[in-house]
Symmetry: C2
Subunit: 209 residues, 2 copies
Amino acid sequence: MAGYVSEAVIRRLPGYYRHLRELEAEGVRQISSQGLGERMKLTASQIRQDINCFGGFGRQGYGYSVQELREHIGMILGVDRVHRMVILGGGNIGRAVALSDSFPANGFQTLAIFDADPGKIGTTIGSILVRDIETLTDFLREQPVDIAVLAVPPPQAQEVADDLCRNGITAIWNFVPADLKLPPNTTVVNVHLEEGLEILSFKMKQKET
Amino acid sequence: MAGYVSEAVIRRLPGYYRHLRELEAEGVRQISSQGLGERMKLTASQIRQDINCFGGFGRQGYGYSVQELREHIGMILGVDRVHRMVILGGGNIGRAVALSDSFPANGFQTLAIFDADPGKIGTTIGSILVRDIETLTDFLREQPVDIAVLAVPPPQAQEVADDLCRNGITAIWNFVPADLKLPPNTTVVNVHLEEGLEILSFKMKQKET
């Protein structure tokens, strides 16, 4: 990807990736900017601009090769490689992430779940062992882990995040509705589920008036 | 809220609401734009601009009343009222939503879960009954429902969404990675969990270079 890419384009990348995977699954081999635009509810010129931004693709009048473009965007996203994850917290959210088929299918492999609850430690969620959170440091020293999924109760979140960062974790997918203080080299993506419902509620109210 | 409010301000509203609730729980009664800014990682002038946009609050030099501002933003978000929800799909995501404490605590009450799996129908998730999805239409005719949480397998999503809209549902919280075709009066908020992981992967890769 050449030079500066706006946050808006970055946020559209996963959408491109998903649509291209769907097209590939449907057996579509070529697609025009017009066709992709209709599917993604973007204008053809927006699509061309975005794709130019990703590195220049397609030839005038030929459209894009679905497979090439999907592979290229997958490479930009870094989902052409395997990411090794641990999940912190074996509650509802941790369970949902651990039991998802789509994450491992996209190279996001969960190695272990950590929890503090003696009733959960030693059990499995799907095929993944729930380990004592006290053993987290030892585990991280022995196993290379790329991403930590944080789904512990809010009061524990900062302490667990500190532990993760001290032990070399630099990427956190945070489901806890809390603003974590993290070292500057840490990459974090927050998923605040409540906020989705609140935005929905706001938009419903707006329509009334 | 007076006049046009930008999407960026709307997206910050739940953050304000969360921080103000936390401040209230901590017993803080007044807060300056500076103090709120430090907490939310925004500048004091950004905070003042946003809050003016919500309808004009606080007096120069006195800061904001935490409770008043929290109540006002809650009202703007519409979370001062009860929202009645049904969950479509009793899988991992449906379960996680049904078992969350924080949604009912904020007035989002789940009345029922619908699934097509005979093994799930008749069971309960938390205290919520899983009903046969074939009975959805009857249920919606009898009960006022504000929000449908869509968490069915992708191939079923459009059909279930059509059923919901035909039966008066106008707000959908969609967890299915699919672009639904919906009537123009439907409000939808999409949560595409995979996209969060893909953005995380992208940002990790960007840091390497």
